[in-house]
């Protein structure tokens, strides 16, 4: 295949990139005692991008024969040519560390059959359901992307990449009278089935989801307002990804995000160092080589409170005079590469969680992302749902509170950080980041103590 792509690309005088991407996707979902969905999909084809007169043209096709690829290249070049008449800012690509050779992280030799996986998913769903008589609905979903890619660019990338990203998503709904409460546990890895179950035990996730849903039936609400809170590693991951990460994606920066012009400035407390790192072994956002053929690397975004770098494609890196480090990603063959995060994390500090709790007179300990996830926009104003909140009074951890949404301006929140624990967990969950097209990402960090706005209820 690599030779076929190289031959096809050799016939164009312009910059071209051909990416053959075959995805075998398996989804298994059990719901309320029933095997609700098992799907096996093959999605394969070539995405061809050409750069002519400073404008991109992109064409995707399922015809990956020699003739099919040649046709796609000529159509992409034509698209670029007509686009160039309209495009004002001309695209130039920055030099990059290009991937060459074989890139394989995982070992699927011991992967169980689909029949065995179906049994495991059904057993876990049964476990959720039988955990308590108050459980009225339950589901366990397994999703696996088994990807094979060949990427060739006319300036020298030539890589064969094998990647496997499985995830679990467990939900439990508890009910009493007309009241329903839902809880979610989800996680993902880059690796095998065994790696996935090694990260979190499925039976524990089933128990935890059921227990939380039941406990939420008796939980109260919190009054909205400004609070000192402790965010757990998953919520720190959401903050790093949603609230900061998106504002430092170079395309958002160029569009006028709040991080524009802030390189070298103090944007967070001295205690905060934040990275985007495609090389974290086994994390769900691991990228060995991106979809422009650039090697996955680590970018220090915030170094001890100072904004150091944005996240780049080859195009934006040229504009900013920066180095691309593997953040141009495409979800399927028919998507063009966009600037995306990989694994976005705050690095651990020196504080102890118990001491951090003891230092709060009136606040909340917040754990995990709630139903619906999180969002942010170019102002770094963010909001996200929290799964579990615990009242902290006079340094002591108290009762569970529910339906919490936190919001704030992310850089203001990071300025307010006054303690960072020594823990580190990269575990955003099983979800996808959405930006025109989905992407598998991960995020995490330590426990952080900071100030946020909590949306609650006014009686």
């Amino acid at each position: 295949m690599l030779d076929l792509l190289k031959e096809a690309i050799s016939q164009t005088a312009e910059y071209a990139e051909i990416r053959y991407h075959k995805r075998e996707q398996t989804s298994i979902e059990a719901k309320n005692g029933r095997l609700a969905r098992v799907e096996r999909r093959t999605l394969a084809g070539a995405g061809v991008r050409c750069l002519v007169d400073g404008c991109w043209g992109f064409v995707s096709t399922t015809d990956v024969t020699h003739d099919g690829l040649r046709k796609a290249i000529s159509e992409a070049a034509e698209a670029a040519r007509i686009g160039a008449e309209l495009r004002r800012e001309k695209v130039v690509l920055a030099p990059a560390k290009l991937a060459q050779g074989e890139f394989v992280y995982y070992d699927l030799a011991g992967e169980p059959s689909i029949a065995e996986k179906i049994q495991v998913v059904m057993a876990a769903e049964k476990r959720v359901r039988e955990r308590s008589s108050l459980i009225v609905a339950s589901s366990v979903r397994y999703l696996q992307y088994e990807d094979e890619k060949y990427i060739v660019t006319s300036d020298g990338a030539a890589a064969h990449i094998l990647d496997n990203k499985p995830s679990f998503h467990v939900t439990a709904t508890a009910g009493r009278g007309n009241q329903l409460e839902m809880a979610i546990k989800s996680w993902g890895v880059t690796g095998s089935w065994k790696d996935l179950l090694g990260k979190v035990r499925l039976d524990k996730a089933a128990d935890d989801a059921a227990d939380l849903a039941v406990r939420k039936l008796d939980a109260g609400y919190v009054r909205g307002g400004q609070y000192t809170v402790i965010l757990d590693p998953m919520l720190v991951g959401v903050l790093a990804h949603e609230a900061i990460g998106h504002t430092v994606e170079a395309d958002f920066v160029q569009a006028g995000s709040v991080a524009q012009g802030k390189i070298g400035q103090k944007v967070a407390s001295d205690l905060v160092t934040m990275v985007d790192d495609g090389t974290i072994a086994g994390a769900a956002g691991m990228v060995l080589a991106d979809d422009e053929g650039v090697l996955g690397q680590r970018t220090v975004i915030i170094d001890s409170g100072i904004l150091r770098d944005y996240l780049h494609s080859r195009e934006s890196a040229q504009t900013f005079g920066a180095e691309p480090r593997g953040n141009a990603r495409a979800f399927t063959y028919s998507d063009e590469p966009l600037i995306r995060m990989t694994n976005t994390c705050v690095l651990p500090g020196k504080d102890d969680l118990d001491q951090m709790i003891a230092g709060i007179d009136d606040g909340l300990l917040l754990r995990e992302m709630g139903v619906g996830g999180g969002q942010a926009d170019s102002t770094a104003e963010f909001m996200f749902g929290v799964a579990e909140g615990y009242v902290i009074k006079h340094g002591k951890l108290g009762e569970l509170v529910k339906s919490i949404t936190i919001s704030g301006q992310a850089f203001e929140v990071l300025q307010s950080v006054d303690a960072v624990s020594s823990d580190f967990i990269c575990g955003l969950g099983a979800g996808h980041c959405g930006k025109w097209q989905p992407a598998k990402v991960d995020a995490g960090g330590p426990y952080l103590r900071c100030r946020v706005t909590v949306g609650g209820r006014h009686e």
């Binding site: 399922t62 800012e89 007309n178 949404t405 919001s407």
Partner: protein, 448 residues
């Protein structure tokens, strides 16, 4: 021709031991101009063709279902997909409720196929997209079109099953959507969006869409924080698409009803919403963006008066959930060749009310207009909480100022029973048509 491929695969599945089989085929040609940061990002072309195969294996206590899909239509890949579907069926437990659709006449919907779309090229998509971009920028130089696209798609779907269903449909769809914000020095407005869709190119007005979006974001520059209060909230159509449409479709989805996640279980024929709310789901609207003659399983789809004066008349069914309830599917199986059939609405509309938006505003002593909602909604419990985007603060019947950093929270099912107004005006957002909906007693958390 595509039906022949479906027929052939159905035959092959039966030869492999399936008791019944269904093949759904989809082909699409898509042309798209993508814009970012006020500039063309990339013109894109895509040609797609794929099949989804469902096989049913007989058993004593029901049938076993298997599904596989592929977009590689080579004989080897199709053979693999057939084998994978059969293997999954063998590994799955029996279920008495799986069945395929029985043949029934499907009335073609007029106006969903614009023949001229066949001849359009990427240049046409670029030209239309440029009209939107220039119109938004002409409103005010502070407007940034963060991302936008103009898409032309011509698609064909075909379905055949072993019960005798043989249907196909061709349609075109034009979609124009954009997200924008305005920036004035250090002040940045909220992100806001506009979406337009039509089956006919003549039904699109990209310049009007760009102008409207530009005006919306400029108007929210200089937003201020407001105090917390509990009062009137007017949900504008874009916010309603998230806050109102999604819980209603969730709770009327028969699968959610049967699995206990819907609050509307056992509530057919009873009052579930305020008497001010009536909801129609109609796939037969000529030229509608969500119009179709038949659903993902080949069941003819007709208009449903889903909710009349707040009374729930129907659940949304596919064949599986219908059989489970002992009824006939009402043609709401959703999805593509890449998925097993799920459930979804077609053209979803909330009937307009009798008061104008101005009258609703004038009658409000203290409240907020929510143009867009960015937050979480738990469709099971109905609890929601999130940030108001592009919102306006109302006091003594007058709009006082655009607001920032305000959050709203409450329970949507409770609020939808206490609706105090539905506007005469309604807005079409792709396959939805929504008015402004007002309720009282919603918590607003400000930052003052």
């Amino acid at each position: 021709m595509h039906l022949d491929l479906c027929d052939d695969l159905v035959r092959r599945a039966l030869a492999m031991g399936a008791a019944d089989a269904e093949v759904f085929y989809r082909k699409a040609r898509k042309l798209e101009a993508m814009f970012e940061k006020n500039d063309l990002q990339v013109p894109k072309g895509d040609t797609y063709e794929g099949v989804g195969i469902r096989v049913l294996l007989g058993g004593s206590g029901g049938v076993r279902l298997g599904f596989a899909a592929t977009n590689l239509l080579t004989s080897k890949s199709l053979e693999n997909a057939l084998s994978a579907a059969v293997a999954i069926a063998h590994a799955s437990p029996e279920d008495p409720n799986y069945s395929l659709a029985e043949p029934a006449p499907a009335e073609p919907v007029p106006g969903i196929y614009d023949q001229s779309a066949e001849k359009l090229t990427l240049r046409d998509a670029l030209d239309q997209g440029r009209l939107m971009l220039e119109a938004a920028r002409d409103v005010d130089p502070r407007v940034t079109l963060d991302s936008a696209m103009y898409t032309i798609e011509v698609s064909e779907k075909a379905i055949a099953n072993s019960r005798g269903v043989r249907l196909s449909e061709k349609r075109s769809l034009f979609v124009c959507q954009a997200m924008a914000f305005a920036r004035d020095g250090e002040t940045v407005s909220s992100f806001d969006m506009e979406v337009g869709a039509s089956s006919q190119m003549s039904g699109m007005d990209p310049a009007a869409l760009g102008r409207k979006l530009g005006e919306k974001v400029v108007a929210t520059l200089g937003a201020t924080t407001i105090p917390s209060f509990r009062g009137t909230v007017i949900i504008a159509p874009y916010a309603g698409a998230e806050l109102i449409v999604s819980p209603i479709t969730f709770s009327s989805d028969a699968e959610n009803v049967q699995t206990g996640r819907s609050k509307w279980k056992g509530m057919l024929g009873t009052q579930v919403l305020s008497p001010l709310l009536s909801i129609v789901d109609d796939p037969s609207i000529p030229g509608g963006a969500g119009s179709t003659a038949f659903d993902r399983e080949g069941v003819p789809a007709h208009r449903l008066d889903l909710i009349e004066d707040g009374v729930l008349n129907h659940y949304l069914y596919n064949c599986y959930t219908a059989r489970k309830d002992g009824v006939v599917s009402n043609g709401r199986a959703a999805g593509t060749d890449q998925n097993t059939p799920s459930i979804g609405p077609t053209n979803f509309a909330i009937a307009p009310g009798e008061r104008s938006l101005d009258e609703m505003t004038a009658a409000c002593s203290k409240g907020i207009i929510v143009n867009r909602f960015s937050g979480n909604l738990d469709e099971v419990s109905g609890d929601f909480s999130g940030v108001v985007k592009g919102g306006y603060y109302i006091e003594a019947g007058k709009i006082v100022c655009p607001v920032r950093e305000a959050m709203i929270a409450g329970n949507i099912y409770d609020l939808l029973r206490q609706v105090t107004g539905v506007s005469r005006e309604s807005v079409e957002i792709a396959d939805m048509r929504l008015p402004y909906v007002q309720f009282n007693g919603c918590s607003v958390t400000g930052k003052q």
